[in-house]
């Protein structure tokens, strides 16, 4: 059974801080790892990672994957209050349903 564990469970920082969110996984026949941001409602897609060591970047957010050690990190630099959300990590393994297996999320709160 595929498994995704995220840490920390929650995090409180001040604006301008840099944060690193962690995601470790166990999956049969790994295909990709995805990061989503969930504010009040729909999770919104951030990154999809398939190869080790290649950083994906979008503005102040970046992410990298280590397929040998089975983890990924999501970095957010110069945090803003609008970054406050739950960050979800999910893996796509070789399953018939092609569904994603999600971790429990990291709740990030950025204070002014």
């Amino acid at each position: 059974e595929d498994k995704v564990v995220q840490s920390p469970l929650s995090l409180v920082v001040h604006e301008g801080d840099t944060v690193t969110l962690n995601c470790s996984y166990e999956v049969t026949n790994f295909r990709s790892l995805l990061w989503y941001k969930q504010e009040k409602k729909a999770p919104t897609f951030l990154f999809m990672l398939t190869s080790s060591g290649i950083e994906k970047k979008s503005g102040r957010l970046s992410s990298i994957l280590d397929k040998k050690e089975l983890f990924s990190i999501l970095n957010i630099t110069a945090t803003q209050t609008g970054d406050s959300a739950i960050y979800l990590c999910a893996v796509d393994g070789d399953n018939a349903g092609n569904m994603l297996t999600f971790g429990g999320g990291t709740r990030l709160m950025v204070k002014p």
């Binding site: 729909a42 897609f45 999809m48 796509d92 018939a96 349903g97 092609n98 569904m99 994603l100 971790g103």
Partner: protein, 113 residues
């Protein structure tokens, strides 16, 4: 439509009642997924449709849960004899093909009293 649309946004029902939750995916997306998210947890897979057929329903918790997608577009998740433990946010997602990323709707918050 521009995004995945789910209705209603909130549903309160009494224990034992029947409910239907609707999902309208992004136009042209053949793959449709239902997930359930309990408070403080990540989304848990329920069922996946490819076109009209349920390709994988292994996440449905029991036979009170059923979903259809008769014309390969709109899907309805049906829950019979609701229980308080069914209270959660039910998320629908779609994707263009079988591959991610999935695009999620805003969910239906179901409360069973």
């Amino acid at each position: 439509g521009a995004g995945v649309s789910q209705t209603p946004s909130n549903k309160v029902t009494e224990k034992g009642k029947y409910v239907e939750l609707r999902c309208d995916p992004i136009s042209g997306h053949t793959a449709l997924y239902w997930y359930r998210q309990s408070l403080g947890q990540g989304p848990e897979f329920l069922i996946y449709f490819q076109g009209t057929g349920a390709a994988d329903d292994s996440g449905l918790p029991n036979d009170r849960f059923f979903a259809v997608r008769p014309e390969g577009s709109v899907s309805t998740l049906k829950i019979q004899r609701t229980e308080r433990g069914d209270s959660a946010v039910y998320l629908c997602a779609s994707s263009l093909t079988r591959a991610p990323p999935l695009h999620f709707g805003n969910g239906t918050r179901l409360t069973v009293t």
